[in-house]
């Protein structure tokens, strides 16, 4: 019973979105705006449905997700190593600090033409941009997470004959794990945005490439369809991480 009430309550809470949808549909059906400017919502949803059924949407979606995921995994591996090393080795922290300080607020997309020069116009330059934008959150949370380990624990481990690598792997990594998960949550939207943006700028397929292509040919319905797919992809990714984090960190709280 309470489940039903909860469900109806959360559906009622969505009324503003329904309202926006009704206004959108009404304004466009009444012919108040030209369809190249704003197509009726029902047309957009029909086009979305048609693209799902025909499977057309999955190819560019898979290309974008592949670029985002590979770039993110590289950023995670490199960022965690750099962050841990910064927490343990003083001269390395000294060397890396200004890079992190400058890199964090820098508009990383400006480097895309450089990556295209180095890695070509295809996947690799886009993956490089994804890595470059999402590495900084990992560096920062890895360093901060590693510094939460108490000195006593480190001394104890060293006294028991643990090697430096062993300390990193068996003590610092588990201790930093909760921080790393919040890093993942920050980095995933960065990765998606960078992949889409790189495609919008440099082309080469993917959702971003198709979006700009549709815009150039004034296919407004397709533009909105792709925007909805991007929105849902971002939302699913974020919620996936929240669920994953709850599973993985059950021992933490």
């Amino acid at each position: 019973m309470s489940h039903v009430k909860k469900l109806t309550d959360s559906l009622i809470a969505l009324y503003p979105i329904v309202l926006v949808a009704i206004v959108w549909e009404g304004v466009t059906r009444a012919g108040l705006v030209p369809p190249t400017f704003l197509p009726p919502l029902s047309d957009v949803l029909a086009s979305l449905w048609q693209q799902i059924v025909s499977g057309e949407i999955f190819e560019p979606l898979a290309v974008s997700l592949y670029r985002a995921a590979v770039g993110l995994l590289i950023a995670m591996a490199e960022g965690i190593v750099i962050g841990f090393l910064m927490s343990q080795i003083r001269w390395f922290r000294w060397l890396m600090n200004p890079v992190v300080l400058l890199g964090f607020p820098a508009p990383k997309v400006a480097f895309l033409p450089i990556f295209i020069l180095w890695f070509g116009i295809d996947h690799l330059s886009k993956i490089a941009l994804v890595t470059f934008t999402s590495i900084f959150p990992f560096i920062i949370v890895a360093q901060a997470g590693a510094e939460t380990v108490s000195r006593v624990q480190l001394w104890a481990a060293r006294a028991m004959g643990e090697t430096r690598l062993g300390i990193l792997w068996r003590i610092i990594l588990p201790a930093a794990f909760p921080s790393l998960m919040s890093g993942v949550r920050v980095a995933v939207p960065y990765a998606l945005i960078s992949a889409f943006t790189a495609e919008m700028i440099a082309g080469g397929g993917g959702l971003g490439g198709n979006l700009v292509y549709a815009q150039r040919f004034f296919e407004t319905t397709t533009v909105f369809t792709i925007l909805i797919v991007m929105l849902v992809a971002g939302w699913l990714a974020d919620h996936g991480i929240i669920v994953l984090r709850r599973r993985l960190l059950r021992w933490h709280n």
Partner: protein
Amino acid sequence: MTAMPAFLGKAASFVLPLMIWVAIWAALPHLDLIDPSFLPSPAMVAIALQKLAMQFSFYQDLGVTVYRSLAGLLLGTIIGVPLGAWMAVSPRAEGFFGPIVKSTYSLPKTALVPLLMLWFGIGSTTSILAITLSTALPMIIYTFHAVQDTPRILLWSARGMGTGRKDLMWLVQLPASMHGILTGARIALGFSFVIAVAAEMIAAKIGIGKLIFMYGENGSYDYMFAAVVAIVAVACLADALLVALTDHLLRWQGRSNMLG
């Protein structure tokens, strides 16, 4: 007395490592690891930067990008802060705007650029609107949470002293939320430069993003690197100024404890 050497020490620990990085960059082409035509030396980039600094059009490009970023950020703040504060005190406003904010938050911000290009063509209007919409969202969310998290004791004491709802917002809730709002502004500032540069790279007649892309296509890589250095420097400077402003505004609260 000790303030000056401390400041110098901080500057040195920032500049010295950077000089080592530049030295590594300068050495790379000599090690035969990288084709020198793919990586212009720091000296070449410095010369290109110097030449750019003497061109009026370079300042036009840089200025347009900065203008778009900051105008969009300003509009986003003007929309976001009152809306977020309103949502925090009025359940009805939260009920209406909350789902809209939540459902649009995960949209990749730069994806708005092609849509707005359909509506307003290529140029400043598109960039500024895209930045306004994308910066309004973090401003709404940070203001909302900051106002909501105002310590109850402050609210109770103010109310006990007979403060009205309007004064409560202006004299208690907003000052108490300054830290959260400025943190939101720092995130929004980062968005604003990214979107401005990205929009100029997708399609533009003027702007630093367009300039970088054009140099890349022409093969003038020293100029391309120089323009990247310029926009990174400007964005980092804007960020540092915002942090300084935050520290200044919050000096009554103690250090803001932001990065750096």
